[in-house]
């Protein structure tokens, strides 16, 4: 096979006549893209053919959903725009779950799809699908491009939209004839107009003053920190606010890492599987300062009973989120970092010790029930696994989780100190996310230790990407939390469906053999004692390593707020199993 020669990573600065396919790559190079995750096919073949001339690394995935999750994981871990590519028809539709995942979590991503020639658009030509129509509700914006000269402007605008304001995925669908035609490529001329900030953004002195006054006068304030902390890079500012005014910080799932877990003011995760004292302190608060979070139903419980005694300050970049679920007293609509920078000088020192003491005292009961304190009985609990993984990795690794019980245990027991170290699908809750997202994260942060923490169910949804790891020769460690069940669903069945375990027991392949078939080393872990050694072996191995960790089968995540209950109506870890009543609103 002819060896591919790549040019240096300099992009074309002088206007040049190129094919549409070449324009795609030239524009990506100009936008600073170095890695694209994709899968070829007829309608995108001209673009693939032109790749050899450009300094971009293409990662061949095993399923286009994997490409979208990889681009997403790349973006989450690195903060840069992730790029996925697919052919028309089935290639494009396979991206959709990954696009929706990125949309719900506001991840900057650009997806490029090929489409049939513009002459046959709308005729149900072979592998034609209306992907701009299909993805309309799950993209921030999308483009259908049918002329070579429109490719660079559309792509450049896509990058702008993906990263501006509240980030999100953008899809650019390019017809085959546009890829084949020639046009003048002029990177500078293709630059989009300056981004129009949302016209309803705004916060003024009066609003800032009112917020400062609420903070000054509050006795029981809590900061609610969300994903926006990371997206706006406001870690320092949130920390300053918390420290200056002695305000405890509760985090959403996607906010984990935005405020150091070890910080004395860190309460931990709020919401459905948050610790009791976190949710109780929100319910008892007299002031909530929401920073880059959207009062999702997973963190509020029933709205009619949510934090009824608290005034609310909402600092948020998306005006459509303010007053959507929770009515607020002060809305400061803008970039979190900018707003906090204006707010901080108005906030003075405060004595928060009484309130912090109250919260501390309330921890007592729940801490006793904490699974970490259960003596080693020979059983392997997933929570122990998370705790030990955290200890052994020094808490510095990037962890990509899947969705289910293991995800919640990870959030509870793996303590994230730094932003962008937890890669998890929060809004859509997409099973199959972990493995491809971790691959993307590794490309985004090649020097970081990357772990997959997946359930036995979700892992099998995208397990084919094991081959991608091998083909790309990347080092990733995989921990499968194998409980023999679709555990989170089993838990709901236990609590709300009288233990009718319909379709949740799961037969899985021998994951270590599966890894072996791919040329990936692995080990099975059955006891807590074996865990340390296995994790160290995984870390010390040059190539990827898979741990099949056989954990307690019928364990449940505690505490839990049943869907449709108030935030303080938690199911606590039972001393004995307690019967529970089904609620109307569960899934």
């Amino acid at each position: 096979m002819a060896k591919q020669t790549k040019q240096d990573n300099t992009h074309l600065t002088t206007p040049t006549q190129l094919t549409g396919a070449e324009i795609v790559w030239a524009t990506l190079v100009g936008e600073g893209v170095t890695t694209v995750f994709g899968y070829p096919g007829g309608a995108i073949l001209p673009v693939y053919d032109a790749l050899r001339k450009f300094p971009i690394h293409h990662v061949l995935v095993r399923h286009e959903q994997g490409a979208a999750h990889m681009a997403d994981g790349f973006a989450r871990a690195s903060g840069k725009v992730g790029v996925a590519m697919a052919t028309s028809g089935p290639g494009a539709t396979n991206l959709v779950t990954g696009i929706a995942t990125a949309m719900l979590d506001s991840i900057p991503m650009v997806c490029i799809t090929g489409n049939v020639s513009s002459k046959v658009l709308g005729t149900d030509a072979f592998q034609e699908v209306d992907i701009t129509g299909i993805t309309l509700p799950v993209t921030k914006h999308n483009f259908l491009v049918s002329r070579a000269e429109d490719i660079a402007p559309a792509l450049r605008q896509a990058f702008q939209i993906a990263q501006s304001g509240r980030p999100g995925p953008v899809l650019v669908d390019i017809t085959k004839d546009a890829q084949q035609a020639k046009a003048l490529f002029d990177f500078e001329a293709a630059k989009p107009k300056p981004y129009r900030p949302h016209p309803m953004l705004g916060f003024n002195d009066a609003g800032l003053e009112k917020a400062a006054e609420l903070i000054r006068n509050s006795k029981r304030p809590v900061i609610l920190a969300g994903h926006g902390v990371m997206e706006s890079g406001a870690m320092e500012q949130v920390r300053s606010l918390a420290e200056r005014a002695q305000i405890p910080v509760a985090l959403t799932l996607l906010g984990l890492g935005g405020f150091p877990a070890s910080h004395p003011l860190n309460l931990g995760m709020m919401g459905m599987h948050g610790e009791a004292w976190v949710n109780d302190s929100i319910q008892n608060a007299d002031l909530l300062i929401a920073c880059g979070m959207r009062f999702d139903d997973r963190v509020t419980g029933t709205l009619s009973s949510y934090a009824l005694n608290a005034k609310k300050i909402h600092i948020e970049i998306d005006p459509a989120e303010v007053n959507k679920n929770v009515k607020v007293d002060v809305g400061l609509i803008g970039d979190l970092r900018n707003v906090l920078e204006e707010l901080l000088p108005r906030v003075g020192g405060r004595d928060g010790s009484a309130w912090l003491k109250t919260i501390d005292a309330s921890k007592g009961e729940s801490a006793v029930r904490d699974i970490k304190n259960i003596p080693d009985s020979g059983h392997l609990y997933a929570a122990h696994v998370m705790h030990d993984l955290w200890k052994l990795t020094g808490g510095d690794a990037v962890v990509a989780t899947d969705v289910g019980q293991h995800q919640m245990w990870e959030a509870q027991y793996f303590h994230h100190e730094k932003p962008r170290t937890l890669v998890t699908s929060g809004g859509l809750g997409t099973m199959g996310f972990a493995l491809p997202a971790a691959i993307g994260a590794k490309f985004g942060c090649p020097d970081k230790e990357v772990w997959v923490i997946a359930g036995d169910g979700g892992f099998q949804m995208t397990a084919a990407e094991l081959a991608t790891i091998v083909q790309e020769k990347i080092k990733i460690n995989i921990a499968i939390i194998n409980n023999g069940y679709l555990g989170m669903v089993r838990q709901w069945q236990e609590f709300f469906y009288e233990g009718n375990y319909q379709s949740t027991p799961l037969v899985s392949p021998d994951f270590v053999k599966l890894a072996d078939a791919h040329g990936i080393a692995g080990a099975t872990v059955r006891t807590r004692k074996e865990l340390d050694e296995a994790v160290e072996k995984a870390r010390a191995t040059d190539g990827p390593f898979l741990l099949n960790i056989l954990v307690e089968k019928a364990d449940s995540v505690y505490p839990m707020i049943p869907a449709g209950s108030a935030l303080h109506e938690m199911i606590l870890r039972p001393r004995k199993k307690n019967p529970l009543i089904e609620t109307a609103e569960d899934e």
Binding site: N323, K327, V330, G331
Partner: protein
């Protein structure tokens, strides 16, 4: 309550789908939607009327602005404005009943725009209630309505405004609506 939004949107394929899709996503029924040219080159102007809760207007307007092809959105709310609708009504007539319809048309300040031996066509512009009044009376008369076509509503604020200042105006009116809730959230 009934909300009326006036929006300027880019005049390119697919924009109407995006607007309509937003309302579908919010599970809000569009009562009336008119789209056509505007004084701004490359931009279409639409008037959209829908029924939703009072608080919804903030979120609808904010969500409309999130569509990349939407340039301006004005929430008319209670502002002084003119709303008109156009109706074309084809009525079956005979030599005996024709003059009766002529009279009605006169009273309602409508116009006859087509006339054959068996039917005539009425063109009428006006507010909704007036158009509905004519339709009711026609229905009650001996003349059968053969075809009825209504344009949906078009709304314009009163006063010496151009759409260039609509955004500022819209921002104001919107803030009045949510002022209680987002105290201090208005822009300078």
């Amino acid at each position: 309550m009934v909300h009326t939004f006036v929006a300027y949107v880019e005049d390119i394929p697919g924009v109407l789908t995006r607007v309509a899709s937003l309302f579908r996503r919010l599970n809000i029924n569009i009562q009336s939607l008119t789209v056509g040219g505007s004084e701004r080159p490359g931009l279409s102007r639409l008037t959209l009327v829908c029924e939703s809760s009072g608080e919804a207007s903030h979120r609808i307007r904010a969500s409309l602005f999130k569509l990349e092809n939407v340039v301006d959105v004005d929430d008319i709310a209670q502002a002084p404005s003119v709303t008109r609708e156009l109706a074309l009504i084809k009525v079956a007539v005979t030599a005996q009943t024709r003059s009766q319809v002529f009279e009605l048309v006169e009273v309602f300040r409508a116009r006859i725009v087509d006339l054959t031996s068996e039917s005539l066509m009425i063109e009428m512009t006006g507010v909704e209630s007036k158009i509905e009044g004519l339709i009711e009376i026609l229905k009650a008369s001996d003349c059968r309505i053969l075809e009825l076509c209504r344009s949906g509503k078009m709304t314009m604020r009163r006063g010496h405004h151009t759409s260039g200042v609509l955004r500022a105006l819209g921002a104001k009116s919107n803030e009045e609506v949510v002022a209680g809730a987002i105290a201090g959230g208005e822009s300078d």
